[in-house]
């Protein structure tokens, strides 16, 4: 059933799929050819808008709408930046797309660029994915040799160059404007918005930024149409998502499922449930920035709206399963350390506030917890939320608030018992 609906990962089992011959044998680059040879950019834009493809990077913004914001008929060049930074803890799906099927991503890039009128695209990939970056570069070489990239693609008069650009160890560079700064050779300091990248982005030019998985959906929408797409998943939230499951499950890994699949089903039917003897305590449903759900909150469809209503978010589709033996203080400790480490340091509430929370949490973890610490953490996190320059402040504050709120008793117990020791 679900296997029938798979399309992004369907071919992942094939040997040497990353080589262009294999990809071509399996219908690769047909969608791009069709787009460039038979479609006008506006037709493609209409199709992507009709599909209502929502961004797979975290925020879930409709891709077609975003592309539509790019001003047409301006002198300046336009750019595409594919966000392959994949730094959100728990997330590893883009890695699978890029390593198993790099040509799928390239094909998506070709169609997107043709649609928006872009002649230079960058794949901003996290620095640690060095092997994958090389694989992508190889794929670009192959595609260029076939005339699918470079000058006069598929014999048309459309040119496109793709450059793989490696980051160097900074989670914040996954945030779209920090990514632009980083790509320009600067510190990854998020920019003040507005202006938005669609009007002033890379090198001050109109820029589209999309996640790898978002772009990987494009060839399928092109080939099979918006209607097909909206019939998978939910009408307003169509297609599949590649969920990455990790933590306390028997079969951690990626699972491509239609949007709207229930979280319980994903954990128990697909990821094999928890290992023997372990009980479910909590789930982080959309990467570390997503507020935690308790064990009794997992009967929920995995889509943007439902998770938002539950006070969490679908984010990057990374599901982290936490078992009953894990102390929530440990979770809190890892979460606060992570954000304190990754704050770019630009704005006050995030730079000082998150580090302050982290100092309190580390003190508690070292046995120095004091009455009122949890209240202070809540107060500080609330003071950060909604008041920072970029969404990292919220990404830190929200999961921290949720952990402290939902597991207050456990945390208090632990503060007490750590002190007694």
């Amino acid at each position: 059933m679900a296997d029938k609906e798979k399309y992004l990962t369907k071919l992942f089992g094939l040997k040497n799929l990353h080589k262009i011959e294999v990809y071509l044998q399996n219908g690769g680059y047909e969608a791009a050819k069709k787009a460039i040879k038979t479609k006008k950019p506006q037709d493609i834009l209409n199709e992507v808008k009709a599909a209502n493809l929502r961004g797979r990077g975290g925020a879930g913004f409709p891709a077609g709408v975003k592309w539509g914001f790019v001003p047409q008929g301006v002198e300046k060049p336009k750019y595409l930046c594919v966000n392959a930074d994949e730094g959100e803890p728990g997330t590893f799906k883009d890695k699978y797309i890029m390593s198993h099927n790099p040509h799928l991503l390239l094909e998506g890039i070709i169609i997107t660029s043709y649609c928006v009128g872009i002649h230079q695209a960058f794949i901003y990939i996290r620095g640690e994915y060095e092997m994958i970056a090389r694989r992508l570069e190889k794929a670009i070489e192959e595609a260029t040799a076939k005339g699918f990239l470079g000058k006069n693609i598929f014999g048309s008069n459309f040119d496109l160059e793709v450059i793989v650009h490696r980051g160097a160890g900074a989670y914040i560079c996954g945030e779209e404007t920090a990514l632009l700064e980083s790509l320009e050779g600067k510190r990854g300091h998020p920019r003040l918005k507005p202006p938005f990248p669609a009007s002033i982005g890379l090198f001050g030019c109109p820029t589209v930024i999309n996640n790898v998985e978002t772009i990987a959906n494009i060839p399928f929408i092109m080939a099979r149409g918006a209607e097909w797409f909206t019939q998978i998943g939910l009408p307003k939230d169509g297609g599949t998502r590649i969920f990455g499951v990790s933590g306390a499950v028997k079969k951690p890994g990626i699972y491509e499922l239609p949007l709207g699949t229930s979280l319980r089903e994903l954990i128990y039917n697909y990821a094999g449930g928890l290992p023997e003897g372990k009980k479910l305590k909590a789930v982080i449903p959309g990467g570390m920035s997503a507020p935690v759900l308790k064990a009794d909150e997992i009967d929920i469809p995995l889509d943007f709206e439902s998770l938002m209503k539950a006070g969490s978010m679908l984010g990057s589709g990374a599901v982290i399963v936490i078992d009953h033996e894990t102390s929530m203080l440990d979770v809190l400790r890892v979460v606060s350390k992570f954000y304190a480490h990754e704050s770019c340091g630009q704005c006050t509430p995030c730079r000082v506030g998150v580090a302050w929370i982290n100092k309190i949490v580390q003190r508690i973890a070292a046995g120095g917890g004091q009455p009122g610490d949890l209240e202070t953490i809540t107060r500080l996190a609330s003071a950060i939320k909604g008041k920072t320059l970029c969404p990292l402040g919220d990404a830190a504050a929200m999961p921290i608030l949720a952990i402290v709120e939902k597991f207050k008793d456990e945390l208090l117990d632990q503060i007490g018992s750590l002190k007694d020791n």
Partner: protein, 518 residues
């Protein structure tokens, strides 16, 4: 124009204004730290958050452009709460060393805390330890623990001086301001950083631990050191009863002037202020038989007037020499022109200015006096100096001496002095020249006079007297008026010019450039 409502007040403001500017224009203060009007908004301190009706989140006043119908609150409980939090964050890691901080009394963070904060510190963790005494360059010291990372300093060097010496190193809470090893701040505008830093992180070595800012008074004036004539403040100590201070003037600061120097002045002008106090001439000195003795103003001026009159009556004014410089005010130069170019014909007028220095293609000009343009506009027509043909003997030589900057004017004037029978010197400083003249009169400096100058770009500036002159020093304007009246050639003209403003009025009636300027 757009109509908006701020704190219940309906106002119309210019389109394109930010909320911060709009609020300011009607006298509502919104606290802000990273924003400085010289740069585009940075949005990093988050102190300026305000509430806009219909928006889910608080928005930045420094970067949000007003829109028709916006309803803004700068005082709601949510806004106050957010402000307190930001201040709490800023102060959490900030040292509590205001009692020994040079910025105290003049620190935006301290002020805002008093105004909007006033919470008890809840911060019980270990503060980040950072270097407290980093030499940023020859004039500046950085205390990294006090730094709030507003990056004004970095942006000033990147965007204004374009020398870019400073940067932010590391990230997160460990972020710090630094320069590349061996390449500290080294430009002629470094002193501005200490003023620009909203807290006491960057302090001026020259001012460090000298006094507390609340003992200082500020007098607006202009910088006399080059033809840009930047607007400045002179900060001086009013003194304590019964306590002798070894200093009167403590520092020079830029005074905002969008026409001329924006918010900045150069280091050459900033740090060159010792002349205001050092080696000042304070007494009238008379030389007789090689001995200098204290004289009295009135009788010595009368003596000079008498001598001039004598040659005027003999129609031998071509035997009088006058040495001027262009650090005098328009009012003074105008009077000099009236007397020595119009009342007395054929006086030999020489313009002797300090030698040119190096300019820096921004504010500092090669010419080292503030009013060369004024002198031209007023129509003084000095002779070439040194003169092409040999000088005739001079009966009287009247010298107005410029600010001594190393090079002594005596060398320039030696040839003139050797040819003169009687010479008087008007000077603000004691110099070697004093020993070569018959009478020395102590005069005032620009900082001590009211008047006006015209800078290199023909911008006119008026200024009041910022400081009190030392001893019996008198301004050149007063001196010239006394001469004018004493000569009696055009007595009624000089009699009505009692104040600098009256001289300026007269001047603007005469010369079109000055007309219409207030």
């Amino acid at each position: 124009m757009v109509k908006i409502t701020i704190d219940g007040r309906q106002v119309e403001v210019k389109e394109g204004m930010t909320i911060l500017q709009a609020a300011e224009s009607i006298g509502i203060e919104i606290p802000h730290l990273c924003f400085h009007p010289a740069f585009p908004p940075e949005g990093s301190c988050r102190l300026c958050l305000v509430e806009i009706e219909g928006r889910p989140k608080l928005e930045l006043a420094c970067s949000t452009i007003v829109q028709e119908g916006m309803t803004i609150s700068t005082q709601s409980e949510t806004v106050r709460q957010a402000r307190r939090s930001v201040l709490e964050f800023l102060l959490a890691e900030h040292p509590l060393d205001c009692p020994i901080c040079d910025k105290a009394g003049n620190c935006q963070l301290q002020d805002y805390y008093q105004e909007y904060g006033l919470f008890d510190s809840q911060f019980k963790e270990n503060k980040e330890r950072k270097s407290k005494k980093v030499a940023l360059g020859k004039n500046l010291i950085l205390d990294r623990e006090r730094c709030i990372l507003c990056t004004r300093c970095v942006r000033f060097l990147k965007e204004i001086t374009r020398t870019g010496e400073l940067g932010v190193f590391q990230r997160g809470l460990r972020s710090e301001i630094d320069y590349f090893p061996g390449q500290p701040v080294d430009n002629n505008y470094s002193g501005n950083l200490a003023e620009l830093c909203p807290v006491g992180a960057i302090t001026d070595k020259d001012f460090r631990f000298q006094t507390r800012s609340w003992f200082l008074q500020s007098g607006p004036s202009i910088c006399p050191h080059c033809s840009r004539a930047c607007s400045i403040y002179i900060d001086y100590h009013v003194g304590f009863p019964r306590v002798e201070l070894d200093k009167y003037v403590y520092r020079i600061r830029a005074r905002e002037n969008p026409e001329i120097n924006d918010y900045w002045i150069c280091d050459f002008g900033r740090y060159n202020y010792a002349y205001l106090e050092k080696k000042r001439a304070t007494k009238v000195l008379v030389r007789e038989n090689g001995q200098a003795q204290e004289g009295d103003w009135d009788s010595q001026i009368e003596r000079l007037v008498k001598k001039i009159k004598e040659f005027y009556l003999k129609k031998k004014t071509n035997r009088i020499g006058l040495v001027l410089h262009s650090a005098l005010t328009n009012e003074e130069l105008y009077l000099a022109k009236k007397i020595f170019q119009e009342d007395l014909p054929e006086v030999n007028i020489f313009l002797i200015d300090p030698p040119e220095g190096e300019g820096d293609n921004w504010l500092l000009t090669p010419s080292r006096t503030p009013n060369l343009k004024g002198l031209e506009l007023i129509g003084l027509q000095p002779q070439k100096f040194p003169p092409e043909k040999p000088l005739t003997e001079l009966e009287i030589l009247i010298i107005f001496a410029y600010l001594p900057h190393g090079e002594d004017q005596y060398n320039q004037l030696r040839s003139l002095l050797e040819k003169s029978h009687f010479s008087v010197l008007f000077t603000a400083h004691q110099t070697a020249l004093m020993n070569q003249v018959d009478v020395v009169f102590p005069t005032t400096l620009l900082a001590e006079k009211e008047g006006s100058v015209v800078n290199v770009e023909e911008k006119l500036q008026k200024f009041p007297a910022a400081l009190t002159p030392p001893g019996t020093a008198r301004s050149e304007r007063e001196i010239l008026l006394t001469l004018g009246r004493g000569l009696g050639i055009n007595f009624s003209f000089y009699r009505q010019l009692k104040t600098p403003a009256a001289v300026f009025d007269q001047l603007s009636q005469d010369i079109s450039y000055f007309r219409g300027s207030k």
